[in-house]
Symmetry: C2
Subunit: 481 residues, 2 copies
């Protein structure tokens, strides 16, 4: 090679390096340019799949540099004819990507160094969009950190709408697709408010319905149902239940705890209940084992054989946290840590305006129903935090206020040949359903029953009844003792 | 061989045959001679074990030819230092050998043609005596069939005492051993009444304590707790719960159903509840799958893969029925069908005096406690037939009437590192405990937690608390939503 040839090669190499550096810079600054693909080629430890995944940021406020992180999973088959479903977790402050996608109903579940396939992934039924919202949650961020102390329901709904409009611009093939919003727990606030904003902003989004699980809808009704629930499931004594009824109810305890103004009486009742329940019960699933995720449990792994028959990995949340803190995972997801050192499933920087919890959601739901948006409210029936008993009363009240008649009387619904839970439908637009044996995060503990419920919801059909052939089975009138 | 040699051989053979015939005749007439051993050499399909088993009959009324069938399992180790524990099922009319021993806590569980070992067999803790009582139940019989229409609590207790006295004569090595009586459901009547008879008859039986699970103790309290239980577990609607509270409560429904005198109002409430609950929920364990034990389920076995992860064989009762109707099993157990063609888990010949259900057991329990007999009342917390909520109220009331102070406040108890249920102790002699995630037949659905409870009961110690090392784990004050 001559020196001039060498020089040309050298120049080419330099150009190459400059281009690579530019590309790397672009990808690492995470600018939401639609020219940069958000496709996730492969997640570390992931088994091969036929559907595509995307993840990245959408800036919802250019000035304040507020960017929301999403993870989008195409439907596993016939994605072009399936709806788009947004999923939101609650908290306020918890991650939809971490909890919703990687613990509840995404295509994969972390297990050690690898991802296992989830047989009951909701992307078998829809194109699933998981959004970490508001900024400050998970990988979503605001460079202007003052945002974190001003976050509330109004801002969240408005940011989420801004996100959606930009997201549909970025993925135009999904723009006219049927669209649903789903979520659980405090998303009982996020989901109806976002849906209502879509309806009233006349955004070009083809919103068909919403589904909310174990939602916070009415502060007093929801929280006061807790005492009764704990009592009749055996977690507190008759004496303590009496204290809830006569001295200080649970909504008052919650209100005082949030505002750090506990009266001695309420403090006594709360402490008494906590003492009886103990510290080793998962309040979100009173029958499920708890994860002993510390040095003690590590020694257990060494000392004894694990229960091979356990269906539910109660330590999945811990696995998920480890997974999302791996650098290779963050890189694969095009995710960055901005202003934080560690990814956490529930935000440690956000100070959400807790007065928002008191805002009743029934008027918002009424407005949605009047606009023709279908509403499903469901309850994992093992949850003591937002129990089915309160939720059912709220839905009853909603139907009554709207003058909706019962179009499907309270009855068991079926998944296969076993009871999946109970359901009631009002005016063909408002549904209540329980998921039997399910936790606050229902799809985590009852994945098969949850996807059956999800399928029914998308189809806009009542949940399955018993098949005729099995419905014939006789049943004794008086149970033997 | 000469002809005389052949003749001697022939004579010997004949004698031998005659002796064999005599022995066979004796064993098949099933006379309760103590000279005929009741040892069960081997049950068909049984794995090898180190402990001995016995089964057979004790005649409790020679005139009326009333004989009770028992199955006795020696403790698996150190049987000579372990107590004797009698177990009784309820019904009235259900088999302790079938249900208690072969579905709940005996050493074996039937599975197809074989018996599987039960890791949580109560004979690991005690010498277990299972008694089918009264006559007319299981293999127990009365040749005088008029007995079957006159059976009641008084006769049952007296026959059971007669049985015990003769049994201890037959097995003298167990005579001075610590003795406990246990049982469930309607045995909430049998157990205290038998215990009370032992105490007041001055029988030479070393009775230390009784344990009763999901017992019927107080007709109104127990049955009325059912409506509330069904409601707060999501099986009935708010509207139907309201009907229970305002139109016709469950104890009235039960009373009217038993006497075949249903009023139209109560009938309407009962039908409404039945309709909502549906026919495919196990009332004895509201979260457990049901067994689809018919042609339909047989086709299922052919058509689809069974759930490999299912921990509990919900069809075990069916397997047990098949097992007990095998001739080789009946022969091995020295059991006979007298006056019936088929062994059934709950009697089809007995007409128990159902007015007995109304007799309150609290006075009997009070008398026992005053005599120094320890009492444990426990509840599988998934049972809707005799729910924990009613049972707990009865035990509270009992403690109050006796002036017993709480010596161990309501708290969680532990099996290993997970919560096994909740417990409260009064005056160190009366205990209440729930078994978490357990059915009406608690040892069937939660075998490991049940044997832990049984162990604690025999030891006369409070149920285990959380170990110190795990008790340190912090817990958030306000659950996230």
């Amino acid at each position: 090679m001559s020196s001039s040839e060498a020089c040309i090669l050298c120049t080419k190499l330099m150009y190459g390096i400059i281009i690579i550096i530019l590309l790397l810079t672009l990808s690492f600054t995470g600018v939401n340019s639609v020219t940069v693909s958000d496709e996730v080629v492969k997640l570390p430890g992931q088994p091969p799949v036929t559907f595509k995944q995307f993840a990245g940021y959408i800036t919802v406020d250019q000035n304040k540099q507020r960017s929301l992180f999403y993870y989008f999973v195409e439907a596993a088959s016939n994605s072009s004819s399936k709806p788009v479903v947004l999923w939101l977790n609650g908290g306020p402050g918890c991650s939809s990507v971490g909890e919703g996608a990687f613990v509840e109903h995404g295509p994969f579940k972390p297990s050690g160094r690898v991802l296992l396939e989830n047989d009951y992934s909701w992307n078998k039924e829809a194109n699933m969009l998981y959004l970490e919202s508001p900024a400050g949650v998970g990988f979503s961020y605001s460079v202007d950190q003052s945002f974190y102390t001003s976050a509330n329901d109004v801002i969240t709904a408005s940011d989420n709408l801004a996100f959606l409009e930009k997201w549909f611009e970025k993925y135009p093939e999904y723009k006219n697709r049927d669209f649903y919003i789903t979520g659980e727990s405090y998303a009982g606030h996020y989901v109806p408010q976002l849906a209502n904003l879509i309806v009233h902003s006349k955004a070009k989004i083809n919103l068909k319905g919403i589904a909310i699980g174990n939602p916070l809808l009415d502060f007093d009704t929801d929280f006061n149902s807790r005492g009764e629930y704990l009592w009749c499931h055996g977690l507190i004594s008759d004496a303590t239940y009496d204290m809830f009824n006569t001295m200080c109810n649970y909504s008052t305890i919650r209100r005082q705890a949030q505002s750090r103004s506990m009266t001695p009486t309420c403090s006594r009742v709360a402490n008494q209940a906590s003492k009886e329940i103990g510290r080793f019960v998962n309040a979100y699933d009173i029958t499920l084992d708890v994860c002993l995720s510390n040095v003690f449990s590590q020694s257990l792994v060494l000392d004894q054989i694990q229960d091979e028959e356990a269906k539910i990995d109660v330590c999945m949340e811990d696995e998920m946290i480890v997974y999302f803190n791996r650098k290779d995972v963050q890189t694969a997801l095009h995710a960055r840590l901005v202003g934080i050192n560690k990814w956490t499933p529930c935000s440690e920087v956000l100070s959400y305006d807790m007065d928002n919890l008191e805002v009743p959601m029934t008027p918002v739901l009424m407005s949605l129903l009047k606009s023709g948006v279908r509403v499903l409210v469901y309850s994992g029936d093992q949850d003591s935090v937002l129990p089915l008993t309160g939720t059912r009363v709220v839905v009853n009240g909603l139907a009554k206020q709207l003058g909706l008649n019962t179009t499907l009387p309270y009855r068991a619904w079926f998944n296969g040949n076993q009871v999946g839970g109970w359901t009631q439908v009002y005016g063909d637009v408002l549904s209540f359903a329980t998921i039997r044996g399910a936790s606050h995060e229902a799809p985590f503990s009852q994945p098969e029953r949850s996807i059956a419920l999800f399928r029914g919801f998308l189809a806009g059909e009542p949940l399955p009844a018993a098949a005729n052939e099995i419905a014939q089975k006789p049943k004794a009138e008086i149970p033997r003792l």
